[in-house]
């Protein structure tokens, strides 16, 4: 890599040749404002907010799309540049509905922040906001094109990062807009509800469907018995909404906050994750040791992934683990096992799951198996963002809260359950248990480095006492097709399965990078969040799901044995093709 020397605002700097001016400027503590740019995405260079001057260039250049070169002299903030940026902002604001106070992004909107930083006090140009109806057809996210500033992040997320192609620019010029495929309602489009568009939207044009009102109502309804569970990835991310460093582990404070909100029992989805592993590892062992059973086994705890598979890769339905996702297990058990335990009428139990995910809102009614308790197993699923707003709305001084405890009998978790929140975590957790099930021996070292990290596809062959177990881990949806194609190729030629076990998560970094997590995720933040979970794992008394005493007790008291009839009834689901044109 060639190192070049340049000057930014007179400050000399050395940078690698392919660095953008934007990144180079950061190194010398110069922040160039951006709007359409996002580090996750391919540079689109639309908004023009990041323009800078380069000596010898007639025009201004976009810092996000221009790489440094030797001898370059860059100026980033002279009055002319600032004036151009300000005019562009004023133009954007002239087509934006100025209803910040009612906007879901009020307080954390990137456009609002820029307007504040540039000291915009009036919009000199004719106001021409567009008036288009919001699309609330999916249970997960709302698309409000009137607020859209056409930065194109969502389109790039949906097409390039997720490979889904549910969103596209339609029209041109002033009629340009973001719309679902061929203008159908979003729910009829290829959308997999991953919500990455909402997590990347700089303004309030795409956001999670806020269902906190239903929860507030339930909490005040004396007839009901509100219970709650939190997903692994929530505990390492919610702190960002309260000024903590990303990755700070806040399980105890969340438990306390939930209790203060009025929930009568606090469960942990990590327990459900442990249970998932015991079932899934059993499935795996079954398939691995029986010939003709479909391999690879593919994880199914990500509802966006299962939605994708049902729509676009139904040939893999036989490969799917039939175990429901962890929060659904807790949901079913809360209205059966727990209800029986406390002798509560299950119809009165109001189960809320706090998830890093927008897709879970869709999952809770996706099929009749989500009603296995005889009731809707999960009543409402909230995202991390919704919970953080509820905590603030309730006047809870979150950072000052003492740590609380989860409630038995669905609250104790092993380290395997908690790492579910990071890409590769489900695989690692499954390996720990599957190894024990297959080899009848416990691992001496339970951690696997092969499964960790942010690389899009991770492949490894794990030694199962002499038998190599070929695994693949894919996350952020655009990476999955290459993995599936390899499997297909071997399958079509009737060869030995290319992989034995595959983990797929729709979001980049896994659930820590979920579409319902606090705004502003980057790879650096995803790594910090994942690190928080791995720390949690190390702190756990038990590192393997099958050793979780609460899980063992559950089988003894209620479920019988893994994959047994009761387990099948409450813990498993099935999949069917939902052919969707893409």
């Amino acid at each position: 890599m060639t190192i070049v020397r340049l000057e930014i605002n007179g400050i000399p700097i050395e940078a690698e040749e392919n660095t953008t001016i934007l990144d180079a400027a950061k190194k010398v503590n110069v922040t160039i404002p951006t709007l359409c740019y996002h580090p996750d995405l391919k540079t689109w260079a639309a908004c023009g907010i990041c323009v800078v001057k380069i000596d010898g260039h007639d025009t201004m250049e976009r810092a996000c799309a221009t790489t440094v070169s030797d001898g370059m002299k860059v100026s980033t903030h002279d009055s002319e540049i600032v004036a151009v940026r300000k005019t562009i902002l004023e133009l954007i604001l002239s087509t934006h509905p100025n209803d910040c106070l009612q906007c879901p992004r009020n307080g954390n909107c990137e456009l609002q922040t820029l307007a504040a930083e540039f000291g915009i006090r009036e919009i000199p140009y004719e106001q021409r906001p567009t008036d288009m109806p919001p699309d609330d057809s999916t249970p997960s996210i709302i698309l409000n094109p009137s607020k859209c500033i056409l930065c194109g992040r969502c389109v790039r997320v949906c097409q390039d990062m997720q490979g889904v192609w549910a969103l596209e620019f339609l029209g041109r010029g002033e009629d340009l807009r973001i719309a679902p495929t061929a203008d159908v309602p979003l729910n009829d489009s290829p959308c997999i509800k991953c919500g990455q568009c909402s997590a990347h939207c700089p303004v309030g044009a795409i956001y999670e469907k806020d269902e906190s009102a239903k929860v507030w109502e339930a909490l005040e309804n004396l007839d009901l018995y509100p219970v709650v569970q939190i997903a692994p990835a929530v505990r390492v991310a919610i702190g960002e909404a309260f000024g903590y460093e990303p990755g700070t582990l806040l399980t105890g404070k969340i438990y306390t906050a939930l209790r203060r909100l009025g929930f009568k029992a606090i469960f942990d989805t990590n327990f459900g994750a442990d249970l998932t592993i015991v079932e899934e590892a059993s499935e795996f062992v079954h398939r691995f040791t029986h010939h003709n059973a479909p391999l690879p086994l593919i994880t199914s705890c990500c509802p966006s992934w299962t939605d994708y598979m049902e729509k676009f890769a139904p040939d893999f339905i036989p490969n799917f683990s039939t175990v429901k996702s962890p929060h659904e297990l807790i949901g079913a058990l809360s209205k059966t096992y727990f209800a029986r335990h406390l002798a509560i009428d299950p119809s009165k139990i109001f189960m809320v799951s706090i998830m890093p995910c927008t897709s879970k809102k869709y999952e809770i009614t996706r099929s009749e198996e989500m009603f296995s308790s005889g009731y809707q197993d999960i009543d409402v699923s909230l995202t991390t963002r919704e919970l953080s707003r509820m905590i603030k709305a309730a006047g809870i001084d979150f950072p000052a809260l003492p740590d609380g405890e989860a409630d038995s009998i669905l609250g104790t978790y092993s380290g395997a359950g908690t790492i579910f929140g990071a890409t590769g975590g489900v695989m690692e957790a499954a390996l720990r248990t599957a190894y024990a099930f297959v080899t009848k021996k416990e691992l001496t070292k339970v951690t696997f480095t092969e499964t960790r990290g942010l690389e899009g596809v991770k492949e490894a062959a794990i030694d199962f006492a002499g038998t190599p177990m070929r695994i693949a881990i894919a996350h952020w949806m655009c990476n999955i097709e290459t993995v599936l194609d390899k499997v297909r190729e071997h399958r079509d030629k009737e060869k030995e399965p290319y992989y034995h076990f595959i983990e797929v998560m729709a979001c980049r970094g896994g659930c820590v990078g979920g579409g319902g997590q606090p705004y502003g995720a980057t790879d650096a933040i995803r790594k910090q969040r994942a690190a928080g979970l791995y720390t949690d794992d190390e702190r756990c008394a038990q590192r393997c799901a099958h050793n979780n005493p609460a899980v063992q007790k559950l089988y003894e008291d209620f479920l019988g044995k893994p994959l047994g009839d009761t387990a099948k009834r409450y813990l498993h689901t099935n999949y069917k093709p939902r052919l969707t044109l893409r």
Partner: protein
């Protein structure tokens, strides 16, 4: 996504797709051909084109709506294109547009209720010496005046093109 009742995609279109699918520019070429055949791009055909080319439907719609040439709605039986090139503009083609809108009771890009007429503003027809010019189903009328419009429209209504 619901595709609706599948419109029969003509053999000619399917053959053309097969012939051109791997060439650069295939999508545009095929969309142009579809439009020539149907006078617009029916939804079902657009979806079929996407399927045949292995291109996401969203992309096909993105391309269709990017182009002022492609229509997703069936135009009127008599499709009027009013030239807005420089020469025509300088010859007050705006007046012709206004007069047509008034006579037909529709705006630019609209279709009359009876499906007879539609109006579109088009880039230069290339008949600058005939400014202001308009074309009806490809036939060019030059040096058009407000008063002639009524006759031109009546001729369209009367004869079968």
């Amino acid at each position: 996504m619901e595709s609706g009742p599948m419109q029969e995609v003509s053999q000619a279109v399917l053959e053309k797709i097969a012939e051109h699918r791997d060439k650069p520019g295939a999508l545009l070429l095929i969309l142009h051909m579809v439009q020539r055949e149907y006078r617009y791009i029916p939804r079902a055909v657009a979806i079929e084109v996407a399927k045949q080319l292995g291109v996401p439907i969203a992309q096909v719609y993105g391309v269709i709506t990017f182009s002022p040439l492609f229509k997703l709605k069936e135009p009127g039986r008599h499709h009027i294109g009013i030239c807005q090139g420089t020469a025509c503009y300088l010859s007050n083609s705006d007046d012709i547009i206004a007069a047509l809108e008034e006579l037909l009771g529709i705006g630019v890009n609209g279709v009359t209720d009876d499906g007879e007429f539609s109006i579109e503003v088009i880039a230069c027809l290339g008949c600058c010496s005939l400014a202001p010019a308009l074309s009806i189903n490809g036939k060019v009328y030059g040096k058009v005046t407000r008063t002639q419009l009524t006759d031109i429209l009546a001729t369209c209504r009367g004869g079968d093109e």
